[in-house]
């Protein structure tokens, strides 16, 4: 019995000892940035501010967003650094963000800064939709490379295309919303009706279609360019196609969470996140960053990507998201049996 009690006490001590209360000099930062980049981000930041320790909470965009919203009444995060702009728009409309104009924000491309003054969030970089095309598998299946979104309607691609489900993935929603903006409401739904006939299946994650194309599971994955470039660097027989009509994009952005008890440090971090140095750091993975003139071409990125980015209306997309997703679901989700 004594032993049992002792082990209970030990357990309790271990449990209590590992709290997540960020004190002074410590920031809890929620992020969806790729894991392999996080250490680099923290290290670069600590070069200039060695006294602030970053505690990362990293997960996919959907989970981080759900977590932040679920914690709305008692936020745990101090700063959000690297989460989809659409998610931050949603949080702003819930009054969850602390409006703050970081020092030097005026140097950034206007596209990347919240229109309110002071802004509630500031963009870092853009991730751009693209089509990942596996040349080896396409050849086996006798496919010719598509050059536009409309090309993907060709019956030769039947069962050879995968895209993310917009009901599970932000990247999927980005695609749908860009088609709505490019083709108009009627045209876009007609387009998706046609595309649906060619889709092998919809995935729950936005990077998966490109990874699946890279591993030959499917010849064509609708995903984003950044993923494709990374897989290509690893030796995947991929071609990253930028459809000629233009491509949708989403930004990663930064914001201070309203009610943080470490506002001073949070401001320091957000100030740093808009510096030229930070933007150069974002540029190692992303071809498009918020600070003009910084971006150097990224290896394996298609060169014409920048000019193909559409003039994305995030606000309209966010305010119509519910309606768009419901329409998508009633048309394509649930009713369809998996195709061969």
């Amino acid at each position: 019995m004594k032993k049992l009690l002792a082990s209970m006490g030990l357990g309790a001590a271990l449990v209590m000892g590992s709290g997540l209360l960020a004190g002074a000099g410590e920031l809890t930062v929620y992020t969806a940035v790729e894991a392999e980049d996080l250490k680099k981000y923290a290290a670069k930041f600590n070069e200039d501010h060695p006294d602030i320790i970053i505690k990362w909470v990293r997960d996919s965009t959907g989970i981080v967003t759900a977590k932040l919203l679920a914690e709305k009444d008692n936020p745990q995060a101090d700063v959000i650094w690297g989460l989809a702009g659409t998610s931050l728009l949603l949080m702003k409309s819930e009054g969850m963000l602390e409006a703050y104009a970081p020092a030097g924000v005026e140097k950034l491309d206007k596209k990347f800064v919240d229109t309110s003054t002071p802004p509630s969030w500031v963009g870092m970089d853009a991730w751009v939709a693209a089509v990942c095309y596996n040349t080896v598998e396409a050849k086996k299946a006798g496919l010719t490379p598509p050059t536009s979104w409309k090309d993907l309607l060709d019956p030769q691609y039947k069962g050879h295309v995968i895209m993310p489900n917009p009901n599970s993935s932000g990247t999927g929603f980005l695609d749908v919303s860009s088609w709505l903006q490019m083709f108009g409401e009627k045209g876009a739904w007609e387009y998706m009706d046609g595309l649906h006939a060619n889709i092998a299946r919809y995935t729950h994650s936005g990077s998966k279609p490109c990874k699946l194309a890279a591993s030959g599971e499917i010849p064509i994955g609708i995903s984003f360019a950044f993923r494709g470039a990374k897989s290509k660097a690893k030796g995947a027989p991929l071609e990253i196609i930028v459809p000629s009509e233009g491509v949708g994009w989403e930004m990663e952005a930064t914001a201070i969470v309203a009610g943080t008890d470490n506002l001073a440090d949070a401001k320091t971090l957000v100030d740093w996140s808009v510096t030229k140095k930070a933007n150069e750091m974002y540029n190692t993975g992303y071809a498009v960053v918020a600070y003009p003139g910084v971006a150097k071409p990224v290896e394996h990125f298609p060169p014409n990507l920048l000019e193909k980015m559409i003039d994305n209306d995030f606000e309209t997309a966010a305010n119509n998201r519910k309606k768009i997703l419901a329409e998508w679901q009633s048309r394509y989700d649930g009713k369809s049996e998996p195709k061969k």
């Binding site: 209970m8 997540l20 894991a35 959907g62 679920a70 009054g95 509630s120 729950h204």
Partner: protein, 685 residues
């Protein structure tokens, strides 16, 4: 030490003879037995552990499920509008009146969810963003809200807009309570179709798994085939890996680049076929172990009688064997059904377009942040699981002991042909299980499937992958130990108090119900429930949020049912007379507990701790919402890696979990062997 526990009793009595000598105050005889100090201690314990279950299970579930009744609708009467067509501000109009004039929206159109937005200009007839008309809008009362683009306005001041600006103004819904979410759910075919899909998958899987597992258990219990120990070990292996792993194996085997793709013909593995195949894999050991137990307690005299009466082999099988095992079969069936219907890892990986309830929760909560609809799906998912569960409990109550003191254990006789068939069958099943694991290990070591098949360890570079790197691996082991230690103590104490306490039947009944409940709760529902309950600033237990502690508690609660049943079974084997003897010797209950009960039940206690350890290592769904930067987990990392499309590293991580669990299992085996020899020798005649 064959009579160790008896010796302990004797020692106990001699140690306290002094106390026993004290005179008892005389009392009038009562019909009800008087409650001694021990009874009060035990009742207090039941209350404490019962309270633990209320706080870690009942209240969080309530917090989560009550969300399903939170409805959102646009309340147009909360907004007021004025127009200026160049002649000054006109009269104040409620937006409700505006809608009535244009007739744009009916009451049902105004129902929405928390992220619903309603454009104001859609209600203004003949609106043009080029017109010179000015607008102003305000909240008529506090509590309303509208957005200018994404900027929220909750004050009651007037805000002025040009026609062009006014296009950007949208209304936010107001929260109230009602059944609207359920109405919405059941009027949306793409949502409620998942109910049929989930039931279909669960029923088909249950049928296949039970058939396969019964045959396997039959081979183990009723044949004289060789390598029984090896086969049993292999058959238990799937319990050591996350349910995601068979999904990954199926991709490598039958996916478009799979090595056995041709076997699939025109069918796709992504869909019901894949979900069922993977579910059979991960539920097989659960079913096998339950059925094997029920087969191993047959009375040989029944078979002799059947033989003497000249019954044929099949007739004996259908009149003796099957009826004898029926409770085990039913129980196994319900366990499999519950496991399949609540699992979300597998259908997410291999389900393709085939929607099931558990994945719908994921889509609602993670994809659309619609917690209310997620809660509705959770409630719907609870119904079949709870139904299956209560039917099972009802049936189990009817079970009567098959073994009496006069029973003779059944000893299978050698039968060359039968043994060969059974051996081939067991070998085939064993090969499939080993093959599934082997393909994952192989894929984990391949540099770039299928284009560069050279071997490499790059997939083990977890620090470069999403999910927390090698640190998450050691966190998982730490979590496993904490869950095993704390969970075993809590569960065993709880079971002891419930089993041995006198009277107090209402309290014990409630406790039993709470202890049975976790089996039917999908992990993701529990995880979300924990956020809503524990992250409430008004909650006194708020401090554990974001710690390893909450993950330990959540995991213990998640796997409470099976642990509790194991403890109960062991305790039921002990006669209540021990308590009476101990009481008559005036021994406090803790002495009996520590010197008799715990040593006698040690095998069961070890079983509970290994069960909790293994499950803490493999569980994903509940903890995905609860981990913090310092407490990332291997199983969650595996899910994240697969999610990002890093399938090979996910397989690598899955196999690492397998090796740790195998090692733990091996240690457990030797520990119980040693302890068995030391403490259980009295069991032998």
């Amino acid at each position: 030490m064959p009579f160790g526990f008896l010796r302990a009793m004797v020692e106990m009595s001699s140690a306290t003879t002094l106390e026993a000598g004290k005179a008892q105050p005389e009392k009038l005889p009562k019909i009800r037995p008087k409650l001694g100090r021990d009874d009060w201690v035990m009742r207090a314990f039941i209350l404490v552990i019962g309270l633990y279950l209320v706080i870690t299970l009942a209240l969080p579930l309530y917090a989560m499920l009550s969300k399903s009744f939170n409805t959102y609708a646009f309340d147009l009467s909360r907004y007021e509008l004025q127009m200026d067509k160049g002649t000054g501000w006109g009269k104040t109009l409620s937006v409700q009146t505006l809608n009535e004039i244009s007739g744009k929206y009916q009451a049902k159109d105004l129902k929405t969810s928390s992220d619903g937005r309603l454009s104001v200009v859609s209600m203004i007839e003949g609106f043009s963003f080029r017109s010179k008309t000015q607008y102003r809008l305000r909240n008529a009362q506090a509590g309303g809200a509208f957005l200018i683009g994404s900027e929220r306005k909750i004050d009651t001041d007037w805000h002025e807009f040009t026609s062009n600006e006014f296009r950007r103004v949208v209304l936010k819904p107001v929260q109230s309570t009602g059944f609207d979410n359920f109405v919405q759910y059941f009027s949306n075919p793409s949502l409620f179709n998942s109910i049929f899909n989930s039931l279909f998958i669960a029923i088909v899987t249950t049928f296949i798994t039970i058939t396969l597992a019964f045959t396997f258990a039959y081979a183990l219990a009723r044949s004289r085939m060789r390598f029984k120990g090896l086969f049993k070990t292999i058959a238990m292996a799937p319990i050591l890996v996350p349910s995601l792993l068979p999904g990954i194996a199926l991709v490598y085997l039958f996916g478009n680049q799979g090595i056995l793709k041709d076997l699939m013909g025109d069918q796709s593995i992504y869909g019901p076929i894949g979900i069922i195949a993977g579910s059979v894999f991960f539920t097989f050991p659960h079913a096998m172990i339950i059925i094997q137990t029920s087969l191993s307690i047959s009375d040989a005299r029944l078979y002799e009688a059947s033989d003497v009466l000249g019954a044929s082999k099949p007739k004996t099988f259908f009149t003796v064997t099957l009826p004898g095992a029926r409770y085990g079969l039913i129980s196994a069936g319900f366990v499999v059904f519950n496991l399949v219907i609540t699992d979300f890892g597998l259908p997410k990986v291999i389900g393709g377009q085939f929607n099931v309830l558990a994945v719908d929760i994921y889509k609602q909560v993670i994809g659309q942040q619609n917690f209310e609809m997620g809660a509705v799906v959770s409630v719907v998912l609870l119904i079949p699981a709870l139904l299956a569960f209560s039917v099972d409990r009802l049936v189990q109550k009817k079970q009567v002991a098959l073994l009496s003191t006069r029973s003779v254990p059944y000893e299978p006789k050698p039968n060359r042909r039968f043994d060969t068939i059974m051996f081939s069958y067991a070998a085939l099943v064993g090969a499939m299980i080993v093959g599934t694991l082997a393909i994952c290990q192989y894929a984990a070591l391949i540099k770039f499937w299928p284009y560069d098949l050279s071997l490499s360890l790059t997939n083990y570079d977890f620090d470069l992958m999403d999910g927390g790197g090698w640190g998450s691996f050691s966190n998982s082991i730490k979590l496993g130990f904490l869950v095993a230690i704390i969970g075993t103590v809590v569960v065993f104490l709880g079971a002891y108090m419930v089993e041995k306490a006198q009277g107090f039947s209402i309290g014990r009944g409630i406790f039993q119900f709470l202890a049975m409940l976790p089996m039917a709760i999908p992990g993701m529902v529990l995880g979300l429930a924990y956020i809503f309950f524990f992250n409430n600033p008004a909650n006194p237990f708020n401090f554990i949020y974001g710690t390893l502690g909450i993950m330990v508690i959540c995991t213990v609660t998640h796997f409470y049912t099976v642990s509790h049943l194991t403890a109960l079974t062991a305790l039921k084997q002990m006669d209540k007379e021990f308590e009476s003897v101990s009481a008559s010797l005036k021994q406090p209950v803790y002495k009996l507990f520590s010197r008799v009960t715990v040593p006698v039940c040690l095998p069961a206690i070890l079983d509970i701790s290994i069960y909790l350890f293994v499950n803490a290592m493999t569980t994903v769904s509940a903890l995905i919402f609860l981990y913090s930067p310092d407490t990332t987990l291997a199983s969650v990392a595996m899910l994240n890696m697969d999610d990002a499309g890093d399938i090979a590293p996910a397989a690598a991580m899955g196999m690492m979990i397998f090796y740790v669990n195998s090692l733990a299992r091996l240690l457990h085996h030797f520990a119980s062997k040693g302890l068995y020899a030391k403490t259980q020798a009295w069991r032998k005649r």
